[in-house]
């Protein structure tokens, strides 16, 4: 994959997987054979390369919520434990 200019990051295999696996024009299903397991292996492969257990977060808020709560708890604990 080409990159040019100052800002082009090197395209990694993860970039390719993200861009290629579920894009492009689709042909009606009755004309194509199914190559089973492409989506599943694609997900596992991406996860393995990225070193993750899970692959895609569908939104940031779910995750944000958990982290903010944990962070909030820490802060509060510090506040409560602080000498008066």
């Amino acid at each position: 994959m080409n990159t040019q200019g100052n800002r082009g990051s090197k395209c990694t295999l993860v970039d390719l997987l993200d861009r290629i696996l579920d894009k492009g024009v689709i042909i009606s299903a009755d004309l194509v054979i199914s190559i089973s397991d492409i989506p599943l292996i694609g997900v596992n492969l991406r996860a393995a390369i990225a070193g993750m257990d899970t692959m895609v977060k569908y939104g940031m808020m779910e995750d944000l919520d958990k982290e903010i709560r944990a962070w909030g708890r820490q802060k509060e604990k510090a506040l409560l434990e602080a000498p008066e």
Binding site: D30, M52, Y58, D65, A82
Partner: protein
């Protein structure tokens, strides 16, 4: 009989070899249809089970290579979904089915090719430091600061109730600020490109993705987008990553 593994549709009729090998060393070639071409290779027809991630990696790399060669040759291409193999059906050969499909979609392909002429796709990913983002809100929010002060001065029972309130308040403010920032960044990037598409956020090593978009711009005209990303890094204190150019995978 073999099936036909499709790579992409090219602008212009051409009947030749593409000059590279595809999956299982089959020749990749082009077949003309009216003023278009389809880039393809022969492929075994029996249902294919892909068990090995290394094989998939190889296929992805071949697909990327073939599309880049075709992109160079035709100038404008429409990628076909990865892993598409046309089969025989009701006594019709894969090639007959391919032409049936091309005939049916011809006008839509023409429209897409004209829209995508001389365009390239870029991926833009924005990363954030969520903790720093939240701390900044703590420093600036009157409401949050007030709650924190109250917690430290109240007995434990009341403080417990207040800290629940603080959690909710903080969450609300972080979400609101993140949403505002997202909209501002989206506008900024959108103004620097021809088309933009918001993608799912992905897990990345060591960094947290805040925004993931695909952008369509004229080939060799990425300086506007680069400038927008520089400004985003400066003004919002975020990290921006640009990857590409790619054929227009996300805009077909």
């Amino acid at each position: 009989m073999k099936g036909l593994y499709l790579y992409c549709i090219g602008n212009g009729p051409l009947k030749s070899s593409l000059g590279c090998n595809g999956i299982e060393a089959e020749e990749v070639y082009t077949l003309p249809y009216r003023d278009l071409s389809v880039v393809l290779q022969a492929f075994p027809l029996e249902d294919y089970e892909l068990k090995d991630p290394e094989i998939l990696t190889g296929w992805v790399q071949i697909y990327d290579e073939v599309l880049n060669i075709a992109w160079g040759k035709f100038g404008t291409i429409i990628p076909v979904k990865f892993g598409t193999v046309i089969k025989e059906k009701d006594g019709k050969s894969p090639e007959e089915n391919l032409f049936f499909w091309l005939d049916k979609e011809y006008e839509s392909f023409q429209m897409k090719l004209s829209r995508l002429q001389e365009k390239a796709e870029y991926g833009v990913q924005i990363f954030w430091d969520k903790k720093a983002f939240t701390e900044k809100i703590c420093e600036n929010s009157i409401e949050v600061k007030k709650l924190m002060e109250e917690i430290s001065s109240k007995p434990q029972g009341i403080a417990y109730m207040l800290k629940k309130k603080l959690e909710a308040q903080l969450k609300k403010e972080v979400e609101k600020e993140a949403e505002t920032t997202f909209k501002e960044l989206y506008e900024k990037i959108r103004n620097a490109v021809d088309e933009i598409k918001v993608e799912k956020l992905k897990e990345t090593k060591g960094k947290e993705m805040f925004m993931n978009v695909s952008c369509l711009i004229n080939k060799n005209e990425r300086s506007g987008l680069e400038r927008a990303l520089d400004e985003i890094e400066m003004e919002w204190d975020l990290e921006a990553r640009l990857v590409g150019p790619f054929p227009p995978y996300s805009f077909v």
